[in-house]
Subunit: 108 residues, 2 copies
DNA sequence: AATGTATATCGCAAATATACGATAGGATTT
DNA sequence: AAATCCTATCGTATATTTGCGATATACATT
């Protein structure tokens, strides 16, 4: 049981689900907001602002990076994370495709 | 460990995370598409189309219902599910608020 | 009343996510 | 060179999600 059946859906469905999962936690939304506001990309500042341990924040950053919504590069001793607006546009396009289908759906 | 820290974020962040979680699985996206296309709301047809057991589909429907993205009413012996466009608009608005912050975010 | 049909829920197993402390390793500072 | 700082990763505990079969329930049909 609990076999992974995700592969049996379309690529678009899987892609949108992946994006959605990336922002399916308030901590990760908060991280994105911090990155957007600061315009710069200091990891340590995120840890300071969030009510989570450093290791937990690092894990959330990794998930956002895996989904492609942020990029991370090593900047000397520190790590520099920043939003990938391109991927975010793709996220919105994919979501809007679903929304377009759904928005005029009548109810019984 | 693994204490739930979600409460420590803003209501908006929690709300968007909830919506996102609802569509964070390809099966649930597929269900929404079926409901949107058919315009009517027959649960049995969803089970036929998806590569999942009836009980699993029922569970996914429950999660979509909990998130408010669909409504479900008992229609005789059958159950009638349909999309709630109002909630979906709210989803999009909440997402767009994040997107607006993020879209012009420069990178290092 | 008995049978069949449709759907929800229970109980379980496996997988994944969440969270932390400890630790490792690479820079920077002293 | 040693100490310190920053961040990633490992190990671990717990919680949640995913999936199914079996069962219960509610209506429909015979």
């Amino acid at each position: 049981m609990a076999i992974n059946k995700k592969e049996e859906f379309t690529v678009e469905e899987q892609e949108l689900a992946e994006f959605a999962k990336a922002i399916a936690h308030p901590a990760r939304i908060a991280i994105l907001k911090v990155l957007a506001q600061k315009q710069s990309c200091i990891c340590g500042e995120i840890v300071e602002v969030l009510p989570l341990a450093q290791s937990t924040v690092s894990q959330h950053l990794k998930e956002l990076k895996n989904a492609g919504l942020i990029q991370g590069t090593i900047e000397g001793a520190k790590s520099c994370y920043c939003i990938d607006p391109e991927k975010f546009r793709r996220f919105r396009t994919t979501f809007d495709t679903l929304f377009a289908l759904v928005k005029n759906s009548g109810c019984c």
